[in-house]
C-alpha cells in the first residue's frame, strides 16, 4: 500500500477559512502519547514481567489482580499488552525512520541531480512499486526463518526493518523529488543560488525546510501502517517469533480460546488499531496545518 494516494489528493479540494487540524493533532498526540508513556513506564503499571507464567492460573478472567485476565500459559495479558508496545513501536519506528531518511535522500538526489540519475532512480522505483514486495517478504522470511537478534533488536525484527525499508523508501523518494522540483524553480531558491551560496547551503537552508513537510506527514502515517503490517506478518508466522509479547502473535495464539476468552483477541487488536489511528490523526492534523 505504499503509494502516494494515501496522503495526496485528499486535501486539494477543501476550502479552509481557519487553521485546521489542531483538534486531530491534539487527539492523535494524546493517544500516541499515552502509548509512549505506557511503554516507558511499563514496569510501574504492570506486574513487571511479560514472560512470567502461572501455569496453575491459566485463562483467568479479568480481575483486579489481572486487569485483562491471563493467557493460555497464565501470563498476565495486560502486562503483555503493554510490553508489546515496546516491541511493536520500536520495530515500526525503525521500519519507518530508516526508509524515510534513505528515501528522502534519494528523492533529493533525483530532484536536484543530473537528468540521467533522475530517470534511473524513477525507473527503479517504478519497478519496485510494481512488485508484490509483501509476497516476496513472506516467501523469503518464511524460507530463511526469523534469524537471531541483532544489537538491541530481538529475533525477527531485523528482517522486518530491512523488508519495510525496501518497501517504503519509494514513497519518500517520489514525494521528496516532486517537492524538490517544485521548490527549486521558485524565486527565493533562484535568488539564493545566483547569490553565490554554496550548493549544500542552498539545499540545507533553502530547499530542505520547504520540502520536508510532506515526508513528515507521511512518516507518521507510515509508522501506523507499519504497526498493522508487523502484527499481520507475525500472525502469518513470518515476523516476530512466537512467545514474544507482540500484538499480532498474541492474537494468533489466543485464537483457539476465542469462544470463551474473547478479550484475549479483542484487546491486542484494539491496541493495534488505536495506535495506528493515533499516528494517523497526528499525520492528518499536521497535513492540515501545513496546507492551511
Amino acid at each position: 500500500m505504499s503509494d502516494l494516494s494515501l496522503i495526496k489528493d485528499d486535501k486539494e479540494h477543501t476550502i479552509r477559512s481557519r487553521p485546521r487540524g489542531n483538534g486531530k493533532l491534539a487527539a492523535g498526540a494524546v493517544i500516541f502519547g499515552l502509548f509512549v508513556l505506557a511503554a516507558v513506564f511499563a514496569p510501574l503499571i504492570t506486574t513487571g514481567d511479560p514472560a512470567e507464567q502461572d501455569l496453575l492460573n491459566r485463562l483467568a478472567s479479568p480481575s483486579p489482580a489481572h486487569l485483562l485476565g491471563t493467557d493460555q500459559l497464565g501470563r498476565d495479558e495486560w502486562t503483555r499488552l503493554v510490553y508489546a508496545i515496546r516491541v511493536d513501536l520500536r520495530v515500526a519506528l525503525l521500519a519507518s525512520f530508516i526508509p524515510a531518511v534513505l528515501g528522502s535522500l534519494i528523492g533529493i538526489v533525483a530532484g536536484l541531480g543530473a537528468k540521467w540519475l533522475d530517470t534511473a532512480i524513477m525507473r527503479i522505483s517504478d519497478v519496485v512499486v510494481s512488485l508484490p514486495l509483501f509476497i516476496f517478504f513472506i516467501a523469503l522470511v518464511g524460507l530463511l526463518g526469523p534469524g537471531e537478534g541483532f544489537l538491541f533488536l530481538g529475533p525477527g525484527e531485523l528482517p522486518l526493518i530491512i523488508g519495510f525499508t525496501l518497501i517504503s523508501w519509494v514513497v519518500y523518494a517520489r514525494l521528496m523529488r516532486a517537492e524538490v522540483r517544485r521548490v527549486r524553480s521558485m524565486d527565493y531558491v533562484r535568488a539564493a543560488r545566483s547569490g553565490g551560496l554554496p550548493r549544500w547551503r542552498v539545499i540545507a537552508w533553502h530547499i530542505l525546510p520547504n520540502v520536508i513537510g510532506q515526508s513528515i506527514v507521511y512518516f507518521f502515517v507510515d509508522i501506523g501502517l507499519a504497526v498493522v503490517a508487523i502484527s499481520t506478518l507475525s500472525f502469518l508466522g513470518v515476523g516476530i517469533p512466537v512467545g514474544t509479547p507482540e500484538w499480532g502473535a498474541m492474537i494468533q495464539s489466543a485464537r483457539t480460546v476465542m469462544q470463551t476468552n474473547w478479550w484475549l483477541i479483542a484487546a491486542p487488536g484494539a491496541a493495534i488499531a488505536l495506535a495506528g489511528m493515533g499516528l494517523a490523526l497526528i499525520g492528518d492534523g499536521l497535513d492540515d496545518r501545513i496546507k492551511s
Binding site: 514472560a51 500459559l73 470463551t260
Partner: protein
C-alpha cells in the same frame, strides 16, 4: 496431536484360541438405543495433517492410519477398545505352538473394492511387503515363510511361537493388498491403492481432502452403513473447532487439548490415550551429547505444572516412556521418570560443560506441544539452560527429526493397538524417537516380547528397556495427553477408540 503411530496389538491371550469362538459382535453404540442404524448418507471427518503416504509400511503419521482403517482390511480386526480380536478377511485361524505355525482360513466373502476375491496369493504378496518394510518390518520378524496350500488357506511358518503376532495382524501394518499390485506398477498403485476395507478411494486432492465411497463388495454383509466418508485436512486446531461448530465437520478426530473446553462438552468423546508426549534430544550433536545436561533437563521440569498449563489440564503425568495404557507396560520400579529437583539440575548443568548456548526447541505448530514447549522454556531457564521455541508444521518437523537436524523437539507418539511390540518397534526403527541413541535395548526388548510366553516375561523385557532409556535420558516422557474426539449429534455408532484408528463401517447418520 499425536504424530507418530506405533502399532501394538491386541490381547495376546486370545492367540491360541480358535478365533471364531470368541467373537462378540454386539458392539452397539451408546445412546442410540432407539432406531436401528440407517443405511446411506455420508460424514465429513477432519485430519490434522495430510496423510504422508498410502503405503502403511512407510507411514509415520497417525492420521494416515486413521484413513487406512477405512480403505484397507487385514486378516483380523479388533474391537474399537482394542481388547478383543475379531475375524476379518480370515474367518478363522489356528495357532500351533508346537509346529510353530499360524494357519488362516479366508472368508469366502472377502473381496477387494474392485470386486476381486481375496486369495492366499494376495496374503503371501502382502506379507512380502510387510516384512521388508523399513519402519515396521521388525513386527513380522518371527515369520520365516508363507505357504498357500489352497486359495483359501494361508500358513505362516514362524521361528518361534510368537503370541504377539495375531494382534499385529489386525492392524493396517498388516493390510492385505492385491497380488502383484493387481497388475499395476508399485508407483502407480500407491497413488490410488485398492484395499478390502469398507470404503474405496473415490478421489483425492493431495494434501487437502480424500473422498471415500462405499465398497459394495465389503466382506461384512450389510456394512458399511454410510455411502461415503469425506476426509478434510484441517491443520489448524482452531479451524477444526469452527468447522465443527458450523456443522461442516461431523467428526473431529484430533481435538487439540487447548481447544477442548471450547467445544460443547456433550459432543466430546474421550478415550484413555495410547500416546505419550515426549521431549527428544539429539544425542549426536552439540551440548546435548552430554548425559548430565540431559539429566539436568529432566530434573528441571515441573511435570505437574507442565501438565496443568502446557497441556491445558487435559493430560496426566507420564510414568513410562512406552504408552502406559498398552497391556504389558507398567511403571518400572527402578526408573526415576517425572522427578523434579531444581538444585540437582543446577549442579548437573555446572558439571556438563554447557556454556549457555541457545538450544532450539522444535514443536509441531498448532498442537498441545507448541504451548507445552513454551511452558518448558522458563523451567529450563531456571536451571541456567537457554532454549527458544521454534514451531514447525508437522511434516517439516518429522523431516527435520529424520535428518537429525534438531537439538530439542517435542512430539507425541502413540500406539495404534495394545501391545508393547508396536511402541518398541517404533522406538527401535527411529533410533529412539530420533534421538540417535542406541536402539540396542529397544531391539532386545522387542525380541524379548516376541519370545515371551507369559505376561510376566513381557513386563520384564519392557522394564529392562525403560531402565536403560531412563539411564540415557535421551527421550523424556512428559505427559499422557487425553485422546479427544468431537462427534456431531447426527452421527451414530461412534465408539471411543484409544488407538486412534477405528473402522467407520458401523457408523451411520440420522436422516432428518
Amino acid at each position: 496431536m499425536s504424530l507418530f503411530k506405533a502399532t501394538a496389538c491386541v490381547a495376546m491371550l486370545t492367540a491360541t484360541m480358535l478365533l471364531s469362538g470368541c467373537v462378540s459382535d454386539n458392539s452397539t453404540s451408546p445412546g442410540s438405543a432407539s432406531a436401528p442404524p440407517k443405511r446411506g448418507g455420508s460424514i465429513t471427518m477432519s485430519l490434522s495433517t495430510a496423510i504422508d503416504t498410502w503405503n502403511p509400511q512407510e507411514a509415520l503419521s497417525s492420521q494416515s492410519f486413521n484413513v487406512y482403517s477405512q480403505v484397507y482390511a487385514s486378516l483380523l480386526r479388533s474391537t474399537p477398545d482394542g481388547k478383543t480380536l475379531l475375524p476379518a478377511l480370515a474367518s478363522s485361524y489356528q495357532a500351533d505352538p508346537a509346529a510353530k505355525t499360524l494357519t488362516f482360513t479366508l472368508d469366502p466373502a472377502a473381496k477387494f473394492s474392485d470386486g476381486r476375491q481375496v486369495t492366499s496369493a494376495d496374503v503371501k504378496f502382502s506379507e512380502g511387503l510387510w516384512s521388508t518394510g523399513q519402519l515396521y518390518g521388525s513386527y513380522f520378524s518371527s515369520i520365516t515363510s508363507v505357504e498357500t496350500p489352497t486359495p483359501q488357506t494361508v500358513v505362516f511358518r514362524l521361528s518361534q511361537p510368537d503370541t504377539t503376532l495375531p494382534a499385529i495382524l489386525s492392524t493396517a501394518n498388516a493390510a492385505i493388498f492385491p497380488d502383484n499390485y493387481g497388475g499395476r506398477t508399485a508407483a502407480d498403485f500407491w497413488k490410488k491403492p485398492t484395499g478390502a476395507g469398507p470404503f474405496g478411494i473415490d478421489n483425492q486432492a493431495v494434501g487437502r481432502s480424500i473422498s471415500l465411497t462405499r465398497n459394495p463388495h465389503y466382506y461384512r454383509a450389510g456394512l458399511p452403513y454410510l455411502d461415503g466418508v469425506e476426509y478434510k485436512v484441517v491443520t489448524d486446531a482452531y479451524q477444526r473447532l469452527l468447522q465443527f461448530h458450523s456443522g461442516s465437520l461431523d467428526v473431529v478426530n484430533d481435538v487439540e487439548l487447548a481447544t477442548a473446553l471450547q467445544y460443547q462438552q456433550d459432543k466430546i468423546v474421550s478415550a484413555p490415550s495410547s500416546g505419550v508426549s515426549v521431549l527428544t534430544m539429539n544425542t549426536k550433536s552439540g551440548p546435548l551429547g552430554n548425559v548430565d545436561l540431559r539429566k539436568a533437563i529432566a530434573l528441571a521440569i515441573d511435570y505437574r505444572k507442565l501438565v496443568a498449563g502446557g497441556y491445558a489440564d487435559q493430560a496426566t503425568v507420564a510414568t513410562s516412556l512406552l504408552p502406559q495404557n498398552v497391556p504389558g507396560v507398567t511403571p518400572c520400579p527402578t526408573c526415576a521418570w517425572s522427578t523434579t529437583d531444581v538444585a540437582a539440575a543446577k549442579n548437573l548443568v555446572g558439571t556438563s560443560g554447557y556454556t549457555g548456548q541457545n538450544l532450539k526447541l522444535l514443536a509441531p505448530s498448532s498442537t498441545a506441544e507448541e504451548l507445552a514447549a513454551q511452558a518448558l522454556v522458563p523451567m529450563l531457564a531456571q536451571v541456567g539452560i537457554n532454549a527458544t521455541v521454534v514451531p514447525l508444521p508437522t511434516s517439516s518437523l518429522i523431516d527435520r527429526l529424520g535428518k537429525g537436524d534438531f537439538q530439542l523437539a517435542m512430539i507425541t507418539y502413540s500406539a495404534l493397538a495394545p501391545s508393547p511390540i508396536d511402541p518398541l518397534g517404533f522406538l527401535a526403527s527411529t533410533g529412539v524417537v530420533f534421538s540417535q541413541s542406541d536402539p540396542g535395548p529397544a531391539n532386545a526388548a522387542l525380541s524379548g516380547v516376541h519370545a515371551a510366553s507369559n505376561p510376566a516375561e513381557v513386563t520384564t523385557a519392557v522394564h529392562a528397556f525403560e531402565k536403560s532409556a531412563n539411564a540415557s535420558d535421551a527421550v523424556i516422557p512428559l505427559a499422557v495427553p487425553n485422546a479427544l474426539q468431537a462427534v456431531a449429534g447426527r452421527v451414530r455408532g461412534f465408539l471411543p477408540a484409544p488407538y486412534l484408528a477405528y473402522c467407520a463401517d458401523e457408523l451411520s447418520v440420522e436422516n432428518r
